[in-house]
C-alpha cells in the first residue's frame, strides 16, 4: 500500500514537473540560449555583409585577389547554417517568431546603452 502511494506520488510529481517544464520551456530556452542566438545572428549577418561586399568588390575591380576573396566569403556563409539551426531549435522549443525578433533587435542595438554612458563619462555641459 505504502509502495503504491510512493509510486503514485512520484508519478504525480513527474507529471507535474513535465507540465511545469512544458509551461516554462520557452522562457528557460530564451534565458539559456538567447546569448548564443544573438552571437550566431551577428556572425551570420557579418558573413552575409562580407559576402555582398566581396561580390561588389569583384564587380568594381575584377582581379584574382577579389575572386579568392569572394570564394572565401562564400565559405564564410556556413555561419548562417548554424544560425538557421539554432533558430529552428528555438522555434521547436516553443519560442515565438516575436521572441526571436526581440532577441534580434537586442543584438542589433546592443550598443544603444553606450550613448547614455558616454554622456555621463564626458559630463556634457552646455
Amino acid at each position: 500500500m505504502k509502495r503504491l502511494l510512493i509510486a503514485n506520488l512520484i508519478a504525480v510529481a513527474s507529471l507535474g514537473c513535465f507540465f511545469l517544464y512544458q509551461e516554462y520551456q520557452p522562457a528557460l530556452t530564451y534565458a539559456a540560449k538567447g546569448e548564443q542566438y544573438k552571437e550566431l545572428m551577428y556572425q551570420c549577418d557579418h558573413a552575409m555583409r562580407e559576402h555582398y561586399i566581396a561580390k561588389m568588390a569583384l564587380e568594381v575591380e575584377p582581379s584574382e585577389f577579389h575572386i579568392k576573396n569572394l570564394q572565401s566569403s562564400e565559405l564564410g556563409l556556413i555561419h548562417c547554417h548554424e544560425y538557421d539551426k539554432i533558430r529552428k531549435t528555438l522555434l521547436a522549443k516553443g519560442l515565438t517568431p516575436s521572441d526571436l525578433q526581440r532577441l534580434g533587435l537586442e543584438a542589433l542595438e546592443e550598443k544603444e546603452y553606450e550613448l547614455r554612458k558616454f554622456v555621463e563619462i564626458h559630463e556634457f555641459r552646455y
Partner: protein
C-alpha cells in the same frame, strides 16, 4: 655721432621696423584672402537664395509643429535648436519619445537613432546638393539620387530631404499596426503614409494649411505632403541661411583677425591641409572621406557598425566614408563625427592626423577593435591630406574655426 644724428637714426630704424611689420602683416592677410578665395570661399549673400517671406512663415509653423509626426510627439525643431548650432547637442539623435533638450533628452529616454543629428546651416543654400552623412540624397545634373528612385517628388534636394524624417521609424514615426502594414519597399506605401500625415496636418494646423493652400491657389483638401515639405524647405533656407562671419568680414570687407586666428587660418590652408577637403563656400568639398573617428551607438548597420557612404552606393570603395561636414558655426555644432563620438573640437581636429592618441584597445571589444582597424584602413587614402600638428597649432586652428561662428537669423 651727435645726438641729432642718433635721434634721426633711431627714428628711421623705428619707422622701417614698423613698416616691415605692417608689410608682413598685410602680406599674410592677402595670402590668406587669396587662399580662402582660391578654395571656394564666397560672401554669404552670394550663396543664400531669395526666399518668399509668406511661405517662410507657413513653413515655420510646420517646422515647429509636432503634428508633422504622424503618431509621434516630435517636430523638426525638437532636434534642430539654435543654441546647439542648429543641431541637438547630443551624440546620437533621439527621436520619438524624446523629452526636452540636450542632456535632459538623453536622460529621459526616447528612441535612440544611429547617427549624430546634422546641423541645418546652409542646407538651403545654392548648390548644396549632397544631403545627409552618407549623401543619400544627391543632385546630379538634372537628376536626384534618392530612395524615391525615378519618382523623386521635387528637383530641390532640400524638399526631398524634408520628406524623409517624418517617415523614418524611430525618428519621427512610431511603428504601429498601420505603419507595419505599410513597411514595404513600395512607393505607394510611402504615399499612403504621406497622405495620412497631410490629413493630420490639415486637421491640426488649419490656419497654416489654409494659408498654404492659398499660396499655391489650391483647395485645402487637395494639398499633398509636397507642398508642406516645400514650405518647410523655404523656412530652412531662410532660418538656417549662413550669416556673415568674422572670417567673411576679414576676406571680403577688410575686417581684422587676431594673430592667433591668422596663424590658425594659415595652418588650415597650409601645413594642416584641412582645406583639401574643407573647401568651398561652406568649407566642405561635398565629397566623401573616411576619418578614423570612434563609433558610438549601434550604428546604421547595427552591432556598432556604420558603413557610411557604402550604404547608399554599395561600392566597397565607399566603406566608412562620410560627407565632409561643413564648418559653419562649428564651435556650436558639437559633438562631432557621424556618431557624435567626439565631444570637443580639439579632439575632432586631432582625430584627423593622430587617431591612435585616444585609442584604448584594452577597453574595446574584439569587434570594436576589428571595426576600428577597418576604418583606419579605409582612411589611408585621406592620409595624404593630413599633417602632424602640435597642440599649440591645434589650438590656433581652433581659434580660426571660431571665426566661422555667427548669429542666426531671427525668424
Amino acid at each position: 655721432m651727435s645726438f641729432d644724428i642718433k635721434a634721426k637714426y633711431f627714428l628711421l630704424s623705428s619707422v622701417l621696423f614698423l613698416q616691415t611689420i605692417l608689410w608682413a602683416a598685410d602680406g599674410m592677410d592677402s595670402i590668406l584672402r587669396d587662399a580662402s578665395i582660391r578654395n571656394g570661399f564666397v560672401a554669404a549673400d552670394q550663396i543664400n537664395p531669395e526666399v518668399d517671406d509668406s511661405l517662410v512663415q507657413i513653413g515655420k509653423t510646420f517646422f515647429n509643429s509636432k503634428n508633422v509626426s504622424l503618431n509621434g510627439d516630435i517636430s523638426c525643431q525638437s532636434c534642430h535648436i539654435d543654441k546647439f548650432g542648429s543641431a541637438d547637442g547630443i551624440p546620437n539623435g533621439i527621436g520619438v519619445g524624446g523629452i526636452g533638450e540636450g542632456l535632459e533628452r538623453v536622460q529621459k529616454g526616447g528612441a535612440i537613432l544611429p547617427r549624430n543629428t546634422l546641423p541645418l546651416w546652409g542646407r538651403g543654400s545654392k548648390n548644396f546638393n549632397v544631403l545627409f552623412w552618407d549623401g543619400k540624397i544627391e543632385k546630379v545634373q538634372e537628376y536626384i539620387l534618392s530612395q524615391f528612385g525615378e519618382d523623386f517628388p521635387s528637383m530641390d534636394p532640400i524638399v526631398i530631404a524634408a520628406h524623409l524624417p517624418p517617415v523614418e521609424i524611430r525618428e519621427m514615426l512610431v511603428e504601429d499596426k498601420f505603419i507595419t502594414n505599410q513597411k514595404q519597399e513600395r512607393l505607394t506605401s510611402a504615399e499612403s503614409v504621406f497622405q495620412k500625415i497631410t490629413s493630420k496636418v490639415i486637421e491640426t494646423e488649419p490656419q497654416a494649411s489654409k494659408a498654404l493652400a492659398a499660396y499655391y491657389s489650391m483647395n485645402v483638401n487637395d494639398l499633398t505632403y509636397l507642398q508642406i515639405s516645400e514650405a518647410i524647405a523655404e523656412f530652412i533656407r531662410a532660418k538656417f541661411a549662413v550669416q556673415n562671419t568674422r572670417f567673411h568680414s576679414f576676406v571680403f570687407e577688410d575686417g581684422k583677425l587676431t594673430d592667433g586666428e591668422k596663424k590658425g587660418a594659415m595652418l588650415f590652408y597650409g601645413k594642416g591641409k584641412c582645406s583639401s577637403c574643407h573647401s568651398g563656400p561652406l568649407m566642405s568639398d561635398m565629397n566623401f572621406h573616411a576619418v578614423p573617428f570612434p563609433q558610438l551607438g549601434y550604428g546604421k548597420n547595427g552591432f556598432g557598425i556604420d558603413y557610411g557612404r557604402y550604404n547608399s552606393t554599395h561600392n566597397p570603395n565607399d566603406l566608412y566614408k562620410f560627407r565632409t561636414p561643413p564648418l559653419m558655426d562649428v564651435e556650436n555644432t558639437f559633438p562631432y563625427s557621424h556618431s557624435g563620438a567626439v565631444d570637443s573640437l580639439k579632439e575632432a581636429i586631432i582625430y584627423h592626423f593622430d587617431p591612435l592618441r585616444f585609442l584604448k584597445p584594452d577597453e574595446m571589444s574584439a569587434l570594436d577593435r576589428h571595426e576600428y582597424f577597418k576604418r583606419l584602413g579605409a582612411s589611408s587614402s585621406s592620409m595624404l591630406a593630413s599633417a602632424n600638428l602640435t597642440d599649440e597649432e591645434v589650438e590656433q586652428v581652433m581659434e580660426f574655426l571660431m571665426t566661422l561662428s555667427f548669429i542666426p537669423a531671427d525668424i
